[in-house]
């Protein structure tokens, strides 16, 4: 790892260099809520001034850029007696992410394990994930953030460069050659002793700012034991079976595939659509039998996949603690509340 300090005004130059030939995605203000608070979203940006580097958490993760909600996977077209197949990984040029928080970088690392590291890697994901250029950015823990409990409050890999705000300048961790080469375009300096000490202090301060935590001690076992617990029924009664939690989550990757024939009957295609284990037909099979007809069973399995099944397979949870699902859930079903109820803790 190489460390540098970058004056704040230099960052705009870096953006301009990157944006000149690439598609840059960053946090922007999408609107204001009824209390006047900004609502952030990831969007393509062409003007540095539109990026909100002091953003809290975007309502929705950046996943439409690597796991689109809907994506045509393959198709064919009949031309007389001939036919052509069409397979498109749906990426023309790589994305540059300008300002991903640690939780979202860790989410990509987790997805990599499933979608790149398994026996059948997913080419649609790989095509977008490979060559992605990521500038990470430090953040201030919000009342719903529990990434620290999930070990996702710092990113150790999966980015090209990570910036920490130190007032007038950024402390930069440089991980890739690409980042190193891009930085030749702007003024940087070696961090002095005082800069390094300042950085250490800022990191330590951040750790003290978390207000919510999830006790993950022995969690996979506890979930195993409490499979029949009544708390699932209570949460199931609240759940709207709306799928919002999965849609906003940076690590939910489940999907369904639909085949459609064009109205001219010369073309057909397979389309993938992100789905959620909380939707009523998630576990419905051919013949109509549904293994999880009840809301509490489905909601439970969302937690079992994230905090038990994935842990057994990869020795880590499939949740980075970004808090988005709880924030977006109108029924106020949050990960910390659900886990603590399963553990029998007072809430």
């Amino acid at each position: 790892m190489i460390f540098k300090v970058i004056k704040k005004e230099e960052l705009k130059h870096l953006f301009d260099v990157l944006a000149a030939e690439n598609r840059v995605v960053g946090p922007v203000e999408a609107g204001r809520d009824s209390n006047g608070r900004p609502i952030y979203a990831f969007d393509q940006v062409s003007d540095f001034n539109n990026i909100c580097l002091d953003y809290t958490t975007t309502k929705i993760s950046a996943k439409r850029y690597f796991l689109p909600y809907q994506e045509d996977l393959a198709g064919f077209r009949i031309d007389g007696k001939d036919w052509h197949k069409k397979i498109n990984y749906n990426i023309e040029s790589p994305y540059i992410f300008f300002g991903l928080h640690a939780c979202d970088i860790n989410a990509l690392n987790k997805l990599d394990k499933v979608l790149l590291g398994s026996v059948y890697p997913m080419p649609y994901y790989a095509a977008k994930r490979k060559n992605m250029f990521i500038i990470g950015l430090d953040c201030i823990p919000q009342p719903y953030c529990f990434c620290r409990s999930m070990g996702a409050d710092t990113a150790l890999h999966g980015f090209d460069m990570f910036l920490t705000d130190m007032g007038g300048q950024y402390f930069a961790e440089i991980l890739s050659d690409t980042a190193f080469n891009f930085l030749k375009n702007i003024k940087t300096a070696e961090p002095a002793y005082a800069d390094r000490m300042r950085y250490i202090k800022i990191i330590a301060e951040k750790k003290r700012k978390f207000t919510v935590r999830v006790d993950t001690t022995d969690l996979a076992n506890i979930l195993d034991m409490e499979f029949q617990s009544d708390v699932w029924k209570q949460w199931g009664e609240k759940c709207l079976a709306c799928g919002t939690c999965s849609q906003v989550c940076p690590t939910c990757y489940c999907y369904g595939v639909e085949e459609t024939v064009n109205i001219n009957f010369h073309e057909a295609k397979k389309t993938k659509m992100l789905y959620s284990c909380n939707l009523i037909d998630f576990a419905q099979v051919a013949g109509g039998h549904n293994f999880r007809l009840k809301r509490d069973a489905r909601l439970k399995y969302r937690y079992y996949h994230k905090h038990r099944g994935f842990v057994e397979a990869y020795e880590e949870s499939l949740c980075v603690g970004c808090g988005r699902c709880g924030e977006a859930c109108l029924a106020e079903i949050t990960v910390p509340a659900v886990i603590s109820s399963v553990r029998g803790e007072e809430s």
Binding site: D33, L240, C242
Partner: protein, 271 residues
Amino acid sequence: MADLKPVRTYLGMPLYRPKTAFFELSSCEGCQLQLLNNEASLLDFLSLLDIVNFREAMTEKSDEFEIAFIEGSVTRSDEVERLKEIRKTANTLVAFGSCACFGGVNQMKNRLGSEWVKKEVYGDHPVESGFARPLEDIVTVDLKIFGCPIKKKEVEKIIINIALGKAVVHPVYPVCMECKANENICLFDLGEPCLGPITRGGCDSWCPNSRFGCWGCRGPADDANIDQLREIMKKHGFSEETLRDRLECFGGFSKYTEAFRKNPEKKKEGK
């Protein structure tokens, strides 16, 4: 029975062009117009069906048909008779649009007192008009196409599946699923009510895309948790009336709203 002639093939499989009739009962005919809207695919669409009766598009009529698309709710005794006649002929009877599926906007008058409504709508020239009822109150309905108005794209897909002999399926999840995929700001965050969490999807979150809350025109999703939405509306400061107005607008939630009326203050409905 209509004589079905294969017209085209798809992957060597013959496609059938069923004789199809469109009828309207009490409605605005907006759903039928919606069908004619998308000019780019109109010819393709019409070529899939052998349309024998379509008042919005042609004048000659025929009494021979396989599929009957019926728009509108039933409000008069002559409509009841007509509907029964259509049912006798049709192999497949399709409730086309929310009026036919649930009574639609028309059924709001069922709660307002018919004399007052008649006076407001028809002035000094009243016509016979009773309660607005969905088709399935009178006859068996084979297929429902939801929406006020219906979505042309969705109807096209359904017709394609009929031509291919594939099963017709509707989304079972609520509007929120599509709304999130469209990355809309949630209306509750903007201080507005929305029925998206309990309403059947398939409209691609049409209303929230334009920052209007959903009014539930497609009726309940398969696992709609209406009691919970009631709690949510309350927490967000909306009155019981606000929720009821929306639930009652298209008639899709009539089963629940009747229970609401009976227990206005009770927190949870008994299961």
